[in-house]
Symmetry: C2
Subunit: 225 residues, 2 copies
């Protein structure tokens, strides 16, 4: 493959991932490889993440390969490793991206005051599951987490640190962490039965009817009311 | 392999599954193969089911093979097919066995009267998840159902017909099916976060504390109280 007319040695080198000695030219930009590397550049990280999510969704955590992600993202496998490290870290980044829409839940739910917080949380979380664009990444991650202990651990750490601790910090009264998790458990369960198992009539029920029924249960965990 | 000294032709034949023309000797016992088939007999069905559950647990629905189940059960693959039919039906039988402990939930919860029904249902369902002997089959099935649409459909049909319809029939008021499913969704979600994702402090919380906190939410769905 090396030495094909289209790829002179110089370009070969630039196309490869940063080697051991190939420190990125601007060390202050942590973790960014040379802009001259083919497939890299501003969009490469996002492209790899999208490809990684698709790979996890299709093959599960165990079956997902860095080679497959790289191929779908149009980059060298070593560039994937350069950006993210081993598979576990790629999965963590994928979980983080998939959860990005949910990270604002603590502020969104609590900032408007305790009244109706349960219904707002239910509407927000079930809304994220309602839209295929935000649902599919969550489903991919859920599938991996249910099937693989390592993936479950990555998922657990991120949900704890990014969602549960923040939500619990906003709650008054004892057992705030446990109450946050029980509120979340209910919404996870509704999403499971509605979107994964597709149990009827829950799967086809109007989302606002579900929100109205589930809201008070979530409210009880958030505010004890 | 055929014609080895240990396996004369006669025994070879008896070991095989009932062939097209090999109708069971007692046709009134539907679906039962000849008792003379090696590996069959009273315990064969249960042995195959146990092996099938282990196969689904280890390889998921897509990766599970009838050959693998047969090998672990010590029977001919065709005997597996004879008892259960295609993989989908084997999965259905495995789901049914795994859910056997839960099938009494409707009677158990409601027969003692509406008061405290939510707490009793939470204690019963979470108790099934608490014991590794009853948890592992459920986990295997959940993993398959989350990963595969066919498995999700089998799971859905059984949960609907065996659990939800029966529970809803015991409830007064409107939307009984939807309320049954929302009650179940909460307990499914608690089991997911406690036993699969292992989110702390929920994973280590005393089960009776969880029952006491979740019970009122379930009660609201069951009786509106």
């Amino acid at each position: 493959m090396t030495g094909t007319p289209e790829k002179p040695d110089g370009r070969q080198k630039a196309e490869g991932p940063p080697a051991a000695g190939g420190t990125p030219p601007a060390p202050r930009r942590r973790g960014r490889p040379s802009r001259t590397a083919a497939g890299s550049g501003p969009g490469a990280r996002e492209r790899i993440l999208t490809a990684a999510r698709a790979e996890f969704a299709e093959h599960g955590y165990d079956g997902a390969s860095i080679r497959g992600m790289a191929k779908n993202a149009g980059v060298d496998p070593a560039l994937v490793h350069h950006y993210f490290g081993p598979k576990e870290k790629i999965f963590a980044a994928a979980v983080e991206t998939a959860f990005a829409p949910a990270l604002s839940v603590a502020d969104l739910v609590i900032d408007a005051g305790p009244e109706g917080a349960g219904e707002r949380m239910a509407r927000f979380v079930l809304g994220v599951w309602e839209d295929p664009v935000t649902r599919e990444p969550l489903l991919a991650i859920l599938r991996s987490a249910v099937a693989n202990e390592t993936a479950a651990g990555v998922f657990r750490d991120l949900v704890s640190s990014r969602l549960m601790i923040r939500l619990a910090a906003e709650l008054d009264g004892p057992d705030a962490r446990l109450r946050s998790e029980l509120a979340a458990s209910h919404l996870v369960g509704v999403a499971m039965l509605r979107h994964v198992i597709k149990l009827e009539p829950l799967a086809s029920a109007d989302v606002e009817q579900v929100v109205a029924m589930v809201g008070p249960a979530v409210q009880r965990y958030l505010t004890g009311a």
